[in-house]
């Protein structure tokens, strides 16, 4: 286990998944396991906690759910967010500042509500401006979801075979984004 210089946990980070993760999995749990649970054996929420390490810092994330297995994207996704949170000033050698923690918070909550249980994990990539983008490059598709300072989130889609490309505002086009991600599985 890496050395930990500081134990850092801010309230926004703690709250990242507290509500949306539970909501996202509740429907899945219900549809799969409802028939197995009698009326007297209602599923119980439990508090869960995981710690992620990056550049000598530790981030602990706590949330409540039904104890179901976490999707495969969960750990790489959160590790990616923690990795951009710990970038030092001038991380790109061109005087970039640190990544805005509020943007990380917003992006985590957003994507947690969009990904399905079997979705492929995106890469979390920092922007010089202090924002970040989530990237998928699979099946000849380039998909980038951009969160930046002072701008409405949007996503960019390109089919590398046909050359078709388009941009869409978020959250207005959430459903389109979800369907594109589903086709990347």
């Amino acid at each position: 286990m890496p050395a930990v210089a500081t134990a850092e946990l801010t309230l926004p980070e703690r709250a990242i998944l507290a509500s949306s993760a539970s909501a996202a999995y509740l429907d899945h749990f219900s549809s799969v396991d409802r028939v197995l649970v009698s009326a007297l054996q209602q599923p119980m929420q439990v508090t869960r906690k995981r710690t992620y390490y990056s550049r000598g810092q530790a981030y602990t994330i706590e949330w409540r759910d039904f104890g179901q297995p976490l999707p495969a994207w969960f750990d790489p996704l959160v590790q990616g967010f923690v990795d951009v949170l710990t970038l030092p000033p001038n991380w790109n050698s061109y005087q970039a500042g640190t990544i805005d923690s509020q943007i990380v918070h917003d992006a985590m909550n957003f994507i947690n509500g969009v990904l399905g249980p079997t979705s492929p994990a995106p890469r979390i990539v920092p922007l010089s401006s202090g924002g970040l983008q989530l990237e998928w490059h699979r099946k000849s598709i380039d998909l980038e979801v951009v969160f930046d300072r002072g701008e409405q989130p949007f996503f960019y889609f390109r089919n590398r075979v046909s050359g078709d490309e388009s941009e869409h505002p978020l959250p207005e086009d959430n459903s389109l984004l979800s369907s594109i991600i589903a086709n990347l599985e």
Binding site: S93, Y94, R123, V125, P126, L127, E135, Y156, E165, E167
Partner: protein, 130 residues
Amino acid sequence: MSDRAFEDDPSIADEERLFRRIPRTWIDWDDDGNAAISSAAFKDEELSINIESVMIRDGRPPADAVRQYPGYGLAAITAAHARSLNQLVARDPIEEEPAHGVVYGQKKRGGIAGKLRDGASWVITPPPNG
């Protein structure tokens, strides 16, 4: 962000190579060790680059652009490629980098940054575990 205005400099030839340092966080290695650059590396409206001919004039090899940045890669695009995407290419020498220049223009929308990236080639490819 700077409010400086730039004009395209016709003394920078279309075939001029423009070098951009690439930190590891902008690189995705596939299972075969091939390094792909994120479009994020080319999204700055005022994109800093090194102009190769100025480095040659000063007797500096391309690797000098990353000499102080261990683990970084170095990618190159041509001035013609940048101009084809409605970018301006200008000299912007600074004290610590006489070869400094700027590729100026909007890149965040319309997939411009990704298309700049598509025209980039590695000059120095960082190792996956470097």
